[in-house]
């Protein structure tokens, strides 16, 4: 377990995730059209483009500062729910690796955990409310467990992805309890949550 992650790898990961979100923008918007206000794809494209521009212009010296500022840039570009939660996630992930210029897998697990906690704190959604939390919370746990057990990063990532997919599907039959989709009441039952879907897209891009 001596894989150390450098700045360049972080930039590459952000680029892969951003490109994937851009590629799936219309699909995500379609999901939000039947569950919310139809802007999830637009929002996440704004996030993606802001991040692509950001990594272009900013070298990674201090990973914490790099991620904190990436969060700020994200929030500025897309202050909607998922945009704000993404910004929070980036900033919180950065905070736990203050001063580091390279990170280990264990750091990554800590960062993932901090991001999930940040999202939960910021959005105040509970498990079962049918939000991105239902996918990212089990994903974060699975990742940490795998890393602690000595799995490779790629293996741990795959386990996180699988957990996210399970989480996503487990809430599809449920009624949304928070956010715009909650106003739909029972009409939200049986529909895929756009936030969960977006997380799966991101994890897939990171793992592959």
């Amino acid at each position: 377990m001596s894989e150390m992650i450098q700045g360049q790898a972080i930039i590459a990961a952000i680029q892969r995730a951003s490109n994937a979100l851009n590629a799936q923008s219309e699909y995500l918007t379609a999901l939000d059209q039947s569950m919310g206000d139809g802007d999830t794809g637009i929002t996440l494209s704004k996030v993606a483009n802001a991040l692509l521009e950001y990594v272009e212009d900013n070298p990674v010296d201090d990973i914490a500062k790099f991620l904190m500022s990436a969060g700020m840039a994200t929030n500025k570009a897309a202050p909607s729910t998922l945009g704000t939660l993404t910004a929070t996630a980036l900033m919180r992930a950065g905070k736990v690796v203050k001063g580091k210029s390279e990170i280990a897998a264990a750091d990554l697990a800590l960062m993932f955990n901090a991001a999930v906690e940040g999202i939960q704190q910021r959005g105040k959604a509970k498990l079962g409310d049918k939000t991105i939390v239902d996918a990212i919370h089990p994903a974060g746990k699975a990742f940490a467990t795998a890393v602690a057990a000595g799995d490779t990063l790629s293996k741990a990532g795959s386990k996180a992805l699988a957990a996210a997919e399970v989480g996503r599907d487990s809430v599809t039959p449920l009624r949304s309890k928070i956010g715009r989709a909650s106003w739909l009441g029972e009409r939200s039952e049986g529909k895929l949550d756009p936030g969960c879907a977006a997380l799966v897209i991101v994890l897939k891009a990171l793992v592959n």
Partner: protein, 332 residues
């Protein structure tokens, strides 16, 4: 409904540019045109007040930035939250050394961004407190009052907080009196026609020619029920009774009343409504200290109106009567 606009994506920044050019003595911006502040900010030694939210509700939100009311406002795109970054710019610029109170509507996106801004302000050692406005009785039953949306009643919250800060109140005092005011403020609205978000280009909802929706939100959020359009007296009676009940109002109460147009409904119709409100209150031996009839919180060109009651006590009355002067609200 047709619009006088240029490119939809430019709608908000062009509106802000026009606003600042029209009121250069009163308004300025900080860092980004979406961060509007009093031209004379920071007002040293005064608790500063900020708000924020989506565009499309003028005079809410930024129309209340001015003397005796707010110090700054973060402005989002139409019906969309501004960013924490914009709020932070406002916060830094308006802080006059006594801290900042955020007063804004109970909407998910706004809450997340204001919370984020507050955390960032904390790193700058600016004390920030938040007060959420949840006055729309139609948006949730009393036992779930915490889920209620913030609508026109926020104008009274701005007025009270602004007056208290203007009179030298401390951060705690401003928060305390604003919360006391909000505990006594209730609103209910009726929508008759939708509006068009420029970037979307189509109506936010549809209502047929003889329909109305009591309790609809200011972004077109579903109301209590759709029904046939009724007479002004009937609509007004229902809203008045619903609010009085929620407020647990008693004979002898003293209210400020706001009859607010959502946009297209003209003042003539608001006064027809006010007439009925006044009669009902008179019959119940409830007095009206001040009536505000006009456009205070809108949804662009939506037709419809809202009714807000604000139960006053001695101090709240004094603060309500305190002078204020903003581009949209002048009271002497």
């Amino acid at each position: 409904m047709k619009k006088i606009i240029n490119k939809p994506a430019d709608f908000v920044p062009e509106m802000l540019d026009g606003l600042i050019k029209a009121h250069p003595d009163q308004l300025a911006y900080q860092d980004d045109i979406h961060s509007i502040v009093r031209a004379d900010s920071p007002v040293e030694g005064k608790v500063a007040l900020a708000t924020g939210g989506g565009s499309g509700h003028l005079p809410v939100f930024l129309g209340y930035v001015g003397k005796g009311m707010l110090d700054g406002c973060a402005v989002g795109d139409v019906f969309a939250s501004p960013s924490a970054d914009q709020m932070l710019s406002v916060t830094r610029r308006i802080n006059g050394g006594k801290g900042v109170v955020y007063i804004y509507g109970n909407y998910g996106g706004d809450i997340m961004n204001f919370d984020m801004a507050a955390e960032m302000a904390d790193m700058d050692d600016i004390p920030v407190r938040s007060v959420l406005v949840k006055d729309d009785v139609a948006s949730a039953p009393p036992q779930e009052a915490d889920r209620r949306r913030g609508v026109a009643g926020m104008v009274f919250a701005f007025k009270i907080a602004g007056a208290k800060a203007d009179k030298g109140g401390s951060l705690d005092e401003v928060v305390e009196i604003t919360e006391r005011a909000l505990a006594n403020i209730r609103t209910m609205g009726v929508a008759l026609s939708p509006c068009i978000v420029p970037l979307a280009g189509k109506p936010t909802f549809t209502l047929s020619d003889n329909e109305m929706e009591i309790g609809m939100g200011i972004h077109g959020e579903p109301g209590m029920k759709r029904e046939d359009l009724q007479s002004a007296d009937e609509i007004t009676k229902r809203m008045t009774h619903a609010i009085l009940e929620d407020l647990k109002s008693q004979p002898g109460d003293n209210l400020a009343v706001m009859v607010n147009s959502l946009g297209a409904t003209p003042p003539e119709e608001l006064y027809v409504m006010y007439r009925k409100v006044h009669r009902i209150l008179e019959d119940k031996n409830i007095s009206v200290h001040r009536a505000y009839v006009g456009e205070y919180a809108t949804s662009m060109e939506m037709a419809g109106a809202s009714l807000t009651f604000f139960r006053l006590d001695g101090e709240l009355t004094e603060l309500l009567d305190h002078p204020a002067h903003t581009p949209f609200f002048t009271q002497v």
